[in-house]
Symmetry: C2
Subunit: 447 residues, 2 copies
C-alpha cells in the first residue's frame, strides 16, 4: 500500500509538470486579462456607464490546464439597472474593446472575443451581469459567478495543482464540462471537490466509495431537495446543487476510474486519447457481425444552442424508445447525436420485425359488463386464455421503420425538435447509415 | 324478458325429447345392469367371496344422455379386507361375468367390459371397492362413489331432465368430463349444480354471474382450503372440492356460454359440432398468413394413462415456455397434445431468432465489492449503462430450435415425460409439422 502511494505521488508529480501552465503562459494570460479589464473600465468611464470589470473563472484562480486558458471577464452593472439596459450597454461595452468577436447566448447574451499576445491567440468571454448584494438576490443565473469566484479565490490558494490534476483526469475520461451534450463536472465543481477533500488523491479515494445521492456540503447549510447522483451544495447558495448536471454516467465513470487509478496508477490516465473515426465500411461490417439492426431518425437540427438541443434529443430518444417497445419490438441500445446540421436519434434493435398477428387481451370473462362491451366491439372470433377474452388483431406496423414513418409525431419530442420534425424527417436502416458518423460510431462501439 | 323465458323453455322442452333416453334404451340399460349385478352376486356366492355389487353413476340415476350410457357397477368388499385381496378377488370376480373386457387402471385397477342386449353393445365399468362406514373412512378414492350415489339418488328425483340438458350443453362446449386432458365438469358435479340451483336455466342465470373462487356448499359443512376457479364442496366429504379439476378455461367457457344462451337462446347450443380436421396444406398456409413460427417438441408418449400424462405435458409446456422466454424469445401461444403414440409440445412464436450479441448486466458501479468481482471475471471491454456495468456477450442460442435441441433436458418435465425425453426427442419447425395433427390444429385455430 505504501508502495502504491509512493507510485501515485510520483506519477502526479511528473504529470503536473507537463500540464500546469508555465510562467510564460501565466504571464501572458495575466497580461491579456489585465489589459481587457483596464480597457473595459476606461471605456465605461468614457461612455459614462456605471460598470466595473472583474476576472473570474479558472484563469482568475490559476486552475486552468496548460493550453486551455478560457479567460472569463464579468462586467458588473448596478443591481437596480433594467435587464434591457444591462443587455444593451453590456454588449456595446464588450464589443468596444474586442477586435474580433462573436455574440453568444447562454441565459444572457455575451461576447466571445479573441485577443493576441506575442502571436498566441487567447479567447475570452465578456459577460455582463448584475452586481447583487448576496447570492440569494440574483437577478440572473450569471450573477452568481462573482460570488463563486470570491469563495474559491480566498480558500484555494496552494491547492491549484490538485484542481489541475483533477480537471485533466476528467478530461481524459470525457466527463469534464457541464454542458448538456456531455453532462460532466464543471470547473467550479472540480474546485469545490478539491476544497472538500484537500487533494486529488484523497478525492479519488473518497469517490471510489461514493454512493448514489452522495452529498457534499462545505458550508453545512444545504437545503437542496432534488435527487441527483451527486449533490454538492453551492457554498454561496444553499438551494443549489453545483453537481446537478452531472449525469449518472459521468458520476459512475469517475468512481470506476478512481478505483482503477488507485489500484494501478499510470500516467496514461492523464493522456488524452486521440478521437478516432470509423470508416463507413467498418461500421457496416461490425453491425453485420452483431446481427442487430440500426434504425435512425434524422432531421434538420433546430437552430438552438447545444444546451437547449441535447436535452430535447434525449427526451425524444426516450419517448421514441417507449413507442418502439410499446409496439413489442426490442431496443438493445440507443443514443443521440448532432453532426453537420443534422440531429440524429439512433436505435440499435434486437427485434425489428414481427408477425402480422397480435394478441389483444380483453376483460376477464367473469366481468359481465366489460365482457359484453368487448364482445359487442369485436366482430372477430374470440378465445379464452387465462380467464380473459382474447381476440387476434392485425398488427398495424410489422417493422420499426414503418412504425416510425407513421407514428413518430405522436411522441413527446420537445418543442424545437418537434417543430423541426414537423418539417420533415427520414427513417434510415443499417444499410442507409449516413456517412459522416465515423466519430459517433467510434464512441458508440468503443464504450 | 318474459318472451325470452318462454323461448328458452320452448327450446329446452324440444331438446330434452331428443336427448333423453327413450323407454327402450332405459329398459335395455336396466336389463343389462340387473343382469350383471345378479351374475356378480351369484358368482361371489359360488366362489365364497364376501362381496355385493351395486349400480352407481348416471345409469343408476337416470341422468345419462341418450346413447352415452356408461354402466358403472361397484363391487363392494368388507373394509377389513387387505388391498391385495380386494384387487385379486375383485378382478377375478369381474372377469368371471364378462365375455369381452379390458383391464384398466385409475387409482385402482378395474374391468371395462362389453355386454350385448338385442344386438346393442353396452359398456360397463366393474370397479372393486371397500364398503366403508362413512366417507371420512375411505381406504381408496373409489370408495367415495357409493356415498355419492346414495346422496344424489335420494335427492335428484324429478330433476333428471335438468341434468341431462346440462350435460349435453357442456358436451357441446367441450367442457364435459373431469379427465385431465379436458379438465371439465364431471357428471356428479353436474348433478350437484342442478341440486343447488334446481334447474338448468337457473344454473345458467347464476353461472353467468359467477366470480373466480365461486363457492357452493350444499350441506354448509365445507372446510376446503384450496384456491380453484370453482369450489363445490362434496356433500359427503367436507374437505373435498368436487370441481377441483375444472380448469379456469372450462369455468370461463361455461360462464360465457350461459350468457350467450340466455341472451340468444338457440337449439344449436345442444347440437354437437362435428370434429373437423384441417389438411396439412391448409395448416401451412394459415401459419404463413399469421407470420408466426411453430416449433414443436415431439417424443414417444410415455406408457401411462392420459390422466397421468396430461398434467405432465402441461407442466413441461410451462417449463419449456419459461426456458424460451428466459432466453429472450417470445411465445405467442402454446399447447400440448398426444396423437398416435407421440406426445407433442407446441409453441407458436412471435420471436424465434435473435442477434448474436446479448447484454449482460453487471452490478451497480457504486457497489465496490461486486464491481471488482465483475471486472475480474469479464475480460471483454465493459461500458456503463444506467449506473451499472454492462458487457456484451455472445448469445448461446440465436434460435429457438437450437435452444430446445440443447437445453430441453434442463427443464422440469415431470417424471414419465422426462424419462421419455431422455430416450430421445425431435424439435420440428413449421415446415416440418407432423401430419396427423389435423384435428389438433382445427381446435387450435378454431378457438
Amino acid at each position: 500500500m505504501i508502495k502504491e502511494e509512493e507510485e501515485i505521488n510520483r506519477i502526479c508529480k511528473e504529470v503536473i509538470v507537463s500540464i500546469r501552465p508555465d510562467d510564460k503562459e501565466r504571464e501572458e494570460v495575466k497580461t491579456v486579462t489585465t489589459l481587457i479589464i483596464a480597457n473595459l473600465n476606461n471605456k465605461a468611464s468614457e461612455m459614462g456607464i456605471n460598470a466595473r470589470a472583474i476576472s473570474v473563472g479558472s484563469t482568475a484562480r490559476n486552475t486552468w490546464v496548460s493550453g486551455d486558458a478560457d479567460i472569463d471577464i464579468f462586467i458588473m452593472f448596478p443591481a437596480d439597472m433594467s435587464e434591457e439596459d444591462l443587455k444593451e450597454k453590456g454588449l456595446v461595452l464588450a464589443k468596444s474593446v474586442s477586435e474580433r468577436y462573436e455574440e453568444r447566448y447562454a441565459s444572457h447574451p455575451y461576447i466571445h472575443a479573441y485577443f493576441y499576445v506575442a502571436e498566441t491567440e487567447y479567447e475570452a468571454d465578456l459577460v455582463p451581469c448584475f452586481e447583487v448584494k448576496n447570492a440569494s438576490m440574483l437577478k440572473s443565473a450569471v450573477d452568481r459567478t462573482p460570488f463563486h469566484n470570491e469563495y474559491v479565490v480566498t480558500r484555494l490558494s496552494g491547492l491549484e495543482d490538485e484542481v489541475i490534476l483533477l480537471k485533466q483526469f476528467m478530461k481524459c475520461l470525457g466527463i469534464y464540462g457541464s454542458e448538456q451534450r456531455r453532462k460532466g463536472f464543471s470547473g467550479y465543481l472540480c474546485e469545490l471537490l478539491i476544497l472538500e477533500y484537500a487533494s486529488f488523491v484523497k478525492l479519488l479515494i473518497n469517490a471510489s466509495r461514493w454512493q448514489y445521492g452522495e452529498r457534499i456540503d462545505l458550508e453545512g447549510h444545504g437545503n437542496y431537495k432534488g435527487e441527483d447522483p451527486l449533490i454538492v451544495i453551492d457554498p454561496v447558495d444553499p438551494k443549489r446543487n453545483v453537481a446537478a448536471s452531472v449525469s449518472l454516467y459521468s458520476f459512475c465513470k469517475l468512481i470506476d476510474a478512481a478505483r482503477d487509478f488507485l489500484a494501478k496508477p499510470d500516467q496514461k490516465f492523464f493522456m488524452p486519447r486521440a478521437a478516432e473515426s470509423m470508416i463507413h465500411a467498418e461500421i457496416l461490417k461490425l453491425v453485420k457481425e452483431r446481427g442487430t439492426e440500426f434504425v435512425m431518425v434524422t432531421f434538420e437540427a433546430p437552430d438552438v444552442v447545444e444546451d437547449i438541443l441535447f436535452p430535447q434529443l434525449r427526451k425524444a430518444e426516450t419517448s421514441v424508445r417507449n413507442l418502439i417497445e410499446r409496439n413489442d419490438f426490442r431496443v438493445y441500445r440507443s443514443d443521440v447525436t448532432s453532426e453537420g446540421g443534422k440531429a440524429i436519434l439512433v436505435f440499435e434493435l434486437l427485434v425489428w420485425q414481427l408477425p402480422k398477428i397480435k394478441k389483444h387481451m380483453g376483460p376477464p370473462v367473469t366481468s359481465e359488463v366489460h365482457s359484453e362491451a368487448f364482445k359487442n366491439k369485436h366482430s372477430q372470433p374470440f378465445r379464452i386464455e387465462d380467464g380473459r377474452y382474447v381476440v387476434e388483431v392485425q398488427r398495424k406496423h410489422t417493422d420499426v421503420v414503418s412504425l416510425l414513418k407513421h407514428e413518430l409525431k405522436s411522441c413527446s419530442l420537445g418543442k424545437d425538435v418537434s417543430e423541426s420534425v414537423e418539417k420533415g424527417y427520414e427513417v434510415l436502416k443499417t444499410e442507409e447509415i449516413l456517412v459522416g458518423l465515423g466519430y459517433f460510431f467510434s464512441g458508440y462501439f468503443g464504450g
